[in-house]
């Protein structure tokens, strides 16, 4: 048998599985268990109530917009950080991680202050008729802020490994910049982009702290699903809270499964015959 560097497989497998069970599976199982203690009719009534459906709509739509924005901006940021050498590059590189490190509530309060109608940005946007704070737009801004690092940090290492000779080869074969980006660079970045995208989207779905300060939290309009679950919790209606949370859980799970599938497809070429 081959000797591995890590201590014996049974031991390391046992420890990791134990921790995954303890930290991840157990709380989720408790959630599902609680939700399942409702009858099917009752469960359905809670998760399909107009207020809940409105919260799904605003959460998912905002998460989609935020992820799409981060996809473009995050890719551009990763590109600039990898391909160009400019003064302050390392500082920008470090700042990218800030949303990870900052307590999300602090981010939410800062964003609210900036985008309130008397804030720095808000006062500039108000004359144009654009309101950010206390609207779905505010939710998107908060989601963008907290999920940006995911795309940058997944794409960056892949871009760093991308051999510049590939672009030169494509150029020497007569490819236009557009053709090279679409046919060579983008397909090679696709697995990383998908990974970043799914993480960014999942984080946006579940984001709470940064959003509740800026959203205004009007039921039916700017109330996110995570907040609705929290409100039910405050009302000691644990079953309803679990039911609503289970919808988020299922959505996140389906989305991660789908992107994993897409990723496997995009990585087809690495399979050995």
């Amino acid at each position: 048998m081959k000797r591995n560097v890590l201590p014996g497989l049974p031991l390391s497998l046992g420890i990791t599985l134990f921790y995954v069970g303890l930290i991840v599976v157990l709380p989720l199982a408790a959630l599902v268990f609680k939700a399942a203690s409702l009858g099917p009719a009752e469960y359905w009534a809670i998760v399909s109530s107009p207020r809940a459906v409105a919260s799904y709509r605003v959460t998912v739509l905002s998460a989609l917009v935020a992820t799409a924005f981060n996809l473009v901006f995050g890719l551009a940021l990763a590109w600039v950080l990898v391909r160009y050498r400019f003064p302050g590059r390392r500082i920008v590189d470090a700042i990218v991680d800030l949303p990870f490190a900052l307590p999300t509530a602090v981010a939410g309060i800062a964003l609210t202050t900036l985008f309130a109608s008397n804030g720095w940005f808000g006062s500039l946007l108000a004359p144009l008729g654009i309101k950010v704070a206390y609207t779905p737009l505010g939710i998107m801004v908060a989601m963008c802020f907290t999920s940006l690092p995911f795309i940058v940090r997944t794409v960056q290492p892949v871009l760093e490994d991308l051999d510049p000779a590939l672009e030169e080869a494509a150029q020497s074969l007569g490819g236009s910049d557009r053709a090279i980006f679409l046919r060579v660079i983008l397909p090679l970045l696709m697995p990383a982009l998908l990974a970043g995208l799914s993480l960014s989207f999942a984080r946006s779905l579940g984001e709470f702290g940064a959003i509740i300060f800026i959203a205004g939290n009007q039921p039916m309009e700017t109330e996110i699903t995570a907040l609705l679950a929290f409100i039910r919790l405050e009302e000691y209606d644990y079953q309803a809270a679990a039911a609503i949370a289970s919808v988020l859980l299922i959505t996140a799970f389906l989305m991660l499964a789908a992107t994993n599938l897409l990723q496997a497809r995009a990585l087809r070429y690495t399979a050995r015959s």
Partner: protein, 339 residues
């Protein structure tokens, strides 16, 4: 397509990689740029391709000044040292890439026919739907060549084409590249640091050192008449013996030999390992055998001549030589350069 370089200069930051290089390459020739690392050979190749811009001078393709034409419009086929195949495309897709992105539109069946044709040319039929990660290094090299040829380039440029391959694969591919060149008649320029490769393959060899051309000519010309000690040493194993010339006689320590040269004063005598005869006794330069290395085609003897100069020479396989033995060396041919 004839290529002409006229006083081409390239500087990276503060380092001058190429110093005013001028070179004419006749249409249909296969030319090697040979030099040690840092000699500027790859930079010259990349400037001909348009992957690097010349800081001074001009590059002509035929009568057209191509100096400022960007690489994508220059019509060159470039084979990269590590092939630079697109890893996410199959062999067939890699070869078809240039035709797909070209401004001249081709129909799908047209492209497929051409891909098949090229696969046959590079002897890779049946591998069309493999990915580059699934084929061997030699096969990748041939895909890279097929991909470069697919766009009907006017000039074919290869950067260390066999550098990353095993010795045996190398020899086969070398012969095969020569065949393809003779079949297509396309002007080809390749870079190598391997003298054997350059001499075996090329019609003409251009030897570079520190960003300058030091000698160019046919393999016979550069082998028979290396114009400097650098070329002599770079092209193959060479021994150097210091001597002094006076009145057509070279004084090597105590020994005097004829020196057919107009030089006078201190010189270096350069000898190939096959340029000397070894005799256990008789006339000649006395030498002591240090070690004998047995090789498939003969025996290589490491010896010290008087004064401590180390020397390597070859003797026939059946010659009995052992370390510690003292004998005489006579010079059959040599080249003299001023010291």
């Amino acid at each position: 397509m004839k290529i002409r370089l006229d006083q081409v200069v390239k500087t990276f930051d503060t380092f001058r990689a190429v110093h005013g290089v001028s070179l004419d390459i006749e249409s249909g020739q296969l030319v090697a740029l040979l030099g040690p690392s840092g000699s500027g050979k790859t930079t010259i190749l990349r400037m001909v391709a348009g992957l690097e811009y010349a800081d001074g001078g001009h590059i002509y393709f035929g009568d057209q000044d191509a100096t400022d034409i960007p690489v994508r419009d220059r019509g060159v086929g470039f084979v990269f040292q590590h092939y630079a195949l697109f890893p996410h495309m199959t062999v067939a897709e890699n070869i078809a890439f240039g035709m797909k992105v070209s401004k001249t539109k081709r129909s799908k069946p047209e492209i497929a026919t051409r891909v098949d044709e090229l696969l046959r040319l590079v002897k890779l039929e049946g591998l069309d739907d493999r990915f580059p990660g699934q084929i061997s290094g030699g096969q990748r090299q041939r895909v890279a060549l097929a991909r470069a040829l697919a766009v009907d380039p006017k000039v074919l440029l290869l950067d260390e084409p066999f550098g990353a391959l095993d010795a045996n694969v190398r020899r086969d591919l070398r012969r095969w590249l020569r065949e393809i060149h003779d079949e297509l008649g396309i002007t080809t320029l390749f870079v190598t640091h391997d003298q054997e490769e350059a001499l075996d393959l090329a019609d003409r060899v251009v030897i570079l050192d520190q960003g300058r051309i030091v000698q160019e000519g046919t393999p016979a010309e550069v082998c028979r008449a290396p114009n400097s000690a650098f070329v002599m040493q770079f092209l193959g194993d060479a021994n150097r013996i210091s001597a002094t010339v006076r009145d057509g006689q070279a004084y090597i320590g105590e020994t005097v030999v004829d020196a057919p040269t107009s030089l006078d004063g201190p010189i270096d005598i350069y000898l190939r390992p096959g340029d000397v005869d070894w005799r256990p006794e008789g006339d000649g330069i006395p030498a002591t055998v240090i070690r004998v290395l047995d090789r498939p085609g003969g025996r290589r003897v490491l010896a010290n001549v008087e004064g401590g100069t180390a020397l390597e020479f070859d003797v026939a396989p059946e010659m009995a030589v052992r370390s510690g033995q003292v004998g005489k060396l006579s010079i059959k041919r040599s080249r003299l350069y001023p010291a």
